[in-house]
Amino acid sequence: MANTLQSVGIVAAQDAAFDLPLELACGAVLPAYRLRYETYGELNRDRSNAILICHALSGHHHVAGRYRADEKYPGWWDSMIGPGKPIDTDRFFVVGVNNLGGCHGSTGPSSIRPDTDQPWGSSFPMMTVTDWVHSQARLADLLGIERWAAVVGGSLGGMQALQWSISYPARVANALVIASAPRLSAQNIAFNDVARQAILTDPDFHGGDFYAHGVLPRRGLRLARMLGHITYLSDDGMGAKFGRLLRSGAYQYGFDVEFEIESYLRYQGDKFSDRFDANTYLLMTKALDYFDPAHDCGGDLRAALEPVEAHFMVASFTSDWRFSPVRSREIVSALIAGGKKVAYAEIESSHGHDAFLMTDTPYVNLMRGYLDRVARELAA
């Protein structure tokens, strides 16, 4: 890809160990933990040019660049982050972090629990978006970042950006909330629960302690991912890409893969079930379900956003039905009612929820326009 021209190049992950106990929303306390993260670009002298990238359900800290020159795929948001790209590493110091409960290096259910020398498994505490934000704030402290120039995220990542602006108003100059929602709808929770049930009822799940049995609940995770994938695409997008295409050109009258869409989903499911931790998947979907900053304000989102100081950029995509534009507009309306600064774009795209990872021109232009202004204000 031409993107290699504008890549951050070869990158390496780092670990930060924290031994200050972290109190979690569920009441549990994580006595010590590790966060894996990556950084690109340089922190300026007054430490004002840092951007935090928050990841979505299956994301992680590896946001841009490659670990080796011959690596097939770069970080998951390499299209947006790099020299000269909208999140310009020539101007910003970009931080990607793997969330607690994750399975890409930060402390999570598959990590070894120090007091038992066994994987945490089912004993890993439930995480919330707010817990993640508090843990990320400690990473910011460690990196010497008092205030983020921007906190950016799509989907579940957008929820973290929103929560950052509420939990630490003075520490967020700009919040970019993309393809997200102020809370999940019943339909969204329903999808998440079907995904969870697929995992929880897999005989290889063993109540979450499958590590000791030397097995992985692959079938459950695969189904969960297949279901999720359907909801990330739009009907039109899927129709345009796969339609009713058959692999062999004729009906086989059996249950093997016949339609291209079946082949695609199964491939995605298989790939995912080999590399993702089932307990992490469960935790991430619960964090999505629990997120509701208006909950403590009697459902009044405007009141929940009262402390916000950040300027907002909210973006949604026309064909996204998992986190539809209506949900983004709820955030926008609450911000406007509170007199907060907000730009809102409803971007024409056929890519469904996945559009936040794509490069539709109006989307890229919006990100570039917004962040260019942020960079100019930093330089002023």
Binding site: M313, I336, G339, A343, Y344, L366, R373
Partner: protein, 197 residues
């Protein structure tokens, strides 16, 4: 960006009170709001349908919301703005009456401007047998966004029908105020209206 505003936008800007809350419907590239933020310390929002204009507003630090005015102002609470501006857009709207009422639901005071169809040059072109094309109406009849033409009296009748009070009216032509026979010599009309008694 303390640049000069277009004369028609400057007139609107003069009607906006300092430190007020302003909603600009069809805000374009955000020129008016940008000026008001800089010079009158307003809390301003724009509504705009065009994505390139959203990017321009965003890059200029103007809060712009991408939305279609034809669907109304559902996301905006009652009485949540001091001033609502609809600049040279009402003649292009399908839901003309509805937007006027929506504006006065959301805002205390509305500023509506439109090209006056009764302008003498328009009348002259019609007399000569053609639909008018001019500085303020730069479109051919077959390729125009403008579907609801009106003259001063028409707009005032719509206001009267809906018990909308006209606070002030200004008529201009080529950047100059028109006081004599405004419906004949004015090409642009500016109204400040309110639903208050």
């Amino acid at each position: 960006m303390t640049s000069q505003l277009r004369p028609d936008l400057q007139l609107i800007a003069d009607w906006i009170s300092p430190s007020s809350r302003v909603l600009d419907l069809g805000c374009g590239d955000g020129a008016l709001l940008g000026w008001l933020q800089e010079n009158k310390n307003v809390i301003g929002y724009g509504v705009e349908i065009d994505s390139d204009n959203i990017v321009r507003c965003t890059a200029g630090g103007v809060s712009a919301i991408q939305s279609d005015l034809e669907v109304g102002l559902a996301g905006f609470g009652d009485g949540s703005f001091d001033h609502i501006v609809l600049s040279q857009t009402i003649q292009a709207m399908r839901q003309t009456e509805q937007i006027l009422l929506e504006m006065l639901r959301v805002g205390r005071e509305a500023i509506v401007t439109f090209p006056n169809f009764g302008y003498w040059e328009n009348r002259w072109q019609i007399l000569r047998g053609r639909m008018p094309v001019s500085d303020t109406i730069p479109f051919q009849w077959y390729d125009t966004p403008n579907i609801h033409w009106c003259m001063l009296g028409d707009f005032e009748a719509l206001c009267a029908k809906n018990k909308v009070r006209i606070i002030e009216r200004v008529v201009m032509d080529k950047g100059k105020f028109i006081h004599v026979l405004p419906n004949l010599f004015g090409s642009l009309a500016f109204y400040r209206v309110t639903a208050d008694e």
